[in-house]
Symmetry: C2
Subunit: 234 residues, 2 copies
């Protein structure tokens, strides 16, 4: 075979796990035994085991051995593209408001700033075939000299709006997803009747010290608007 030795080791152990020959909690044979079995050096065995650790199949206990993981049933990968909300790639973004305002209690609470400080509010509507599919409101703490360029903001993701000061690599993004009913403001902007179901995605951006640097909501309309998430082992 052309495959590297460590990949063969990965496949062999993976097979034992998916075929239930090895079950969660079971020990893998020791690294030295694997060296003999596959006729490779210990570094090669360890490289293979490292792959299995990264993929969540096994874990190591120093001085004891390697063991098959209890699979994590709760963890999924969610794909959420802010600029294509509800997986509907829209064809138009309408910037309906960019302003510097005093925050409401809710905004100051979520951004953890006093109500006397100002914030930038950005309101946008995403459209497809002329119909609104999503209504977006974001708040960013205001500081002197922050660039407010409407053309940039219109097509910017939330992290990009604040990325001038903070590296995206040093940011944490948190989402809360829930259901709601369209009320006056959301219904008007989404051009739907009051009482229709909405998917609400609340988004909070935190810097490396867990201080909020952005907070906002995305309201998704339409029965077909949804988010998708996947959990699997590869």
């Amino acid at each position: 075979m052309g495959a590297p030795e460590y990949i063969k080791i990965v496949e062999a152990i993976k097979n034992k796990i998916t075929s239930q020959e090895l079950e969660p909690g079971d020990a893998i044979q020791s690294e030295n035994l694997l060296c003999e079995e596959f006729n490779v050096s210990r570094m090669t065995v360890r490289k293979g085991l490292a792959v299995l650790v990264n993929e969540g199949y096994i874990y190591s206990i120093p001085g004891k051995g390697n063991y098959v993981c209890e699979p994590d049933l709760d963890q999924y990968i969610l794909h959420y593209n802010e600029m294509a909300p509800g997986n509907e790639r829209g064809d138009e973004v309408r910037l309906i408001e960019v302003n510097v305002v005093k925050p409401s209690y809710e905004v100051s609470f979520n951004l953890e700033i006093p109500e006397t400080k100002h914030v930038i509010v950005v309101k946008r509507i995403f459209l497809k075939d002329g119909f609104p599919t999503a209504y977006d409101i974001k708040y960013i703490p205001y500081y002197r000299g922050i660039p407010i360029v409407e053309k940039e903001i219109r097509y910017a993701t939330f992290p990009e709006m604040v990325a001038k000061k903070n590296s995206i690599f040093a940011m944490t993004k948190k989402l809360k997803i829930r259901a709601a009913i369209a009320e006056d403001e959301t219904a008007r902007n989404l051009e739907i009747p009051v009482g229709m179901p909405l998917l609400v995605v609340e988004e909070k951006l935190l810097d490396e010290k867990d201080k909020p640097i952005g907070w906002g909501m995305m309201y998704l309309a339409g029965e077909d608007a949804g988010l998708e998430a996947v959990a699997s082992f590869d």
Copy 2:
């Protein structure tokens, strides 16, 4: 410092990235240069770089070099615990139906089986403080000899219901999340008025050949019922 050499290399490069000294697309110095800079062997440098690759900071192009990634803005980790829907750890699970039935068109379509084959349907209600918080319907293809033990099913997660035949490690789980309005069946089971907002989590289980082995819905009631997702680099 007591930290291993390869961790020091990881931290040093991570700092350059989060401080924006290195930006997405930039090249890291070559592995041989890193060996000199940190006075370590090449294997140690490569171990550090492997960590950065796994964490999504850098990627390698054989024959060229290592480069800083464009951060993936769309990918989040979603925590969804089936047995604690909406992050509300309930105190009671009411099994309201376990049956072998012929599937509706929708069910046979999603399980990719003919409408003449039978399926097991499981309906449960999750309660907290005596009030329903979630209503759950799951469908599993029926085959002769499948154990239907009500006590087991009541507290089983969806993967556990089908895990007798298939290893959880060989399964893929897909979720679709959307908003809906409570209608007669859901409203009655959740004891809420028709017209209230619901968060709907559609779940499909696939085996290693991508054949469906389970399909169903979870309806979450209440304004505070929600899902949470996080994206960050560590």
